[in-house]
Amino acid sequence: MIFTVLATLQAVVDRQQPARFWPWLTITVVKLLLVFTVYMLGVAYLTLAERKISAWIQRRLGPNRVGPRGLFQPLADGLKNIMKEETMPAHVNKAIFVIAPMLSFIPALMVWAVIPFAAPWASRWGRIEMVLADVPIGFLYILAISSLGVYGIVLAGWSSNNKYALLGGLRSSAQMVSYEISLGMSLIPVLLLAGNVTLSAVVNQQAQFHMWNVLLLSVSFVTFLISSFAETNRLPFDLPEAESELITGYHTEYSAMKFSLFFIAEYANMVTASALIATLFFGGWDIPFMSADNAGAVSGLLVLLSAVIFIAKVLFFLFFFIWVRWTLPRFRYDQLMSLGWKVLLPLAIAYIIIVASLILALDMAGMQRGFTYGLILFAVNAVLLFILFFVLDRGRIVSPAYRGASVVELAHLRGITAARARLTSQGGGVH
């Protein structure tokens, strides 16, 4: 076996061709370890980033006691959670109670397998894709796996035998089902444009247009962004764990490392969502204003640079997730449902029709897919976004209770309010 490895090492290979089996296997294992380590470290430090950024937004200092500037805080947190007593409440369904944290944690990790994190490498052993598994089903796999994560939360809520946990689990399942649809629907325009579901194809398509999908498919980006906030249970969509109403929802009964796993899963989902947004709408590893990185497999330096660019994009969206969390209050439940079903879903479907007709029209007009093609798409998107944000967005999106009242009812209510005010000002109240 070792001779086979050495033989392949010495063999002169075409650097644009896929690597042979043994180098491929070795490098895949190395990639696995590397990605897993970076990912888990990133998740750990994301908890610190969240605490720091929330503190800065609130004009505090944040954790700064463990290590220089609080940098070892995640280690201290981890140690604390491992050393802590694992409580097992008497009334829980033990088997499901134990398995639920794993069920929410594992899917969050699995999604990373298909996300390309750098340009393909033209190594001396042949072309090496910088993705763990370049599977042809691409983001269909991501949609399938990420929707499995809800099982962890629902089962946690169910097995806890606690009313708050159960309500959290119920909310979570309703929310996931609602937003999964608009999430999937907002990906169809991407699919239409790329013509392929593999994520590397999506990245290459964006390079081909010299323009990222955020400009080509802005409305999709908006719906995808909002839906992914809902899918990751982040504020303003954190109804499953709404502290003020449900204590902490589905993980009320959990402690120590089992609780930690839910926590890690949430952050892992955030990283995954950010990586997906970066890949699907912000060109993935594509280095802006540079075409050398898009010429098939490239040199090691460019691979490294593209990886750095990708990480920077992911970090920006992670920051955005945290930033939004500490800005917006939580939706009410009816607002959540009306936003998902009455706004995002029709919007995504209408947008599919618009993009599909536009692509058909442009292709029939014989236009080459490239920069001009992109500019036309961008112009249409700008108009749509303007209509969306400045014309349609008037009390319709998050105030269904208000919009639901008819004009007659409103007049009636105003009459009552006015009468009350009159009575109160005269000194007599309504009792």
Partner: protein, 165 residues
């Protein structure tokens, strides 16, 4: 429809979710990059206490190290919380002194009447607030402890300078 629901006609800027979100994000970002942090790093940094801060008591002493207290009994009388225990004694020359002088800092409401009423300026409240203990008994300060404390004493309110300027 429920009776008495308040319906407000809001301007467009308030009913628009996206624009409100964007202005909210701008607001949090301004705070994020702003340098004005209000956190006080407690054990290293401490508050400057007002000269009239009323904290745990101190008993002042004469030059020879004895408590100034003459056991007149005014402070236990005036104390609204009834937290001062005083047992007077008398030496051969007829000078009164406290045999037992205890203040239960748990019962004390830090009103400062004892300091105000004291004719000898013996008992004072102090500019001090770090006084945690491991037991309830630890909060009963006896004479020895009251005289041993060194923190600065509280200044009385001066009617001529009501704002302490």
């Amino acid at each position: 429809m429920a009776i008495g629901v308040k319906v407000v006609e809001r301007p467009i800027a308030q009913t628009s979710y996206v624009r409100a979100t964007l202005s909210g994000l701008a607001n949090t970002l301004r705070n994020l990059v702003g340098e004005h942090k209000v956190t006080m790093q407690y054990p290293e940094q401490k508050w400057d206490l007002s000269p009239r801060w009323r904290g745990t008591h101190r008993m002042l002493t004469t030059e020879d190290g004895k408590a100034k207290c003459v056991a007149c009994g005014l402070c236990p009388t005036v104390c609204p919380a009834n937290c001062i225990k005083l047992v007077p004694g008398e030496d051969e020359e007829g000078n009164r002194y406290p045999l037992v002088f205890e203040i239960d800092e748990f019962r004390c409401i830090f009103c400062g009447y004892c300091q105000e009423v004291c004719p000898e300026e013996a008992i004072h409240l102090g500019r001090h607030y770090e006084n945690s203990e491991y037991s309830r008994e630890g909060f009963v300060y006896d004479l020895e402890r009251l005289t041993a404390q060194t923190h600065p004493v509280t200044e009385m309110w001066d009617p001529a300078d009501p704002k302490g300027e």
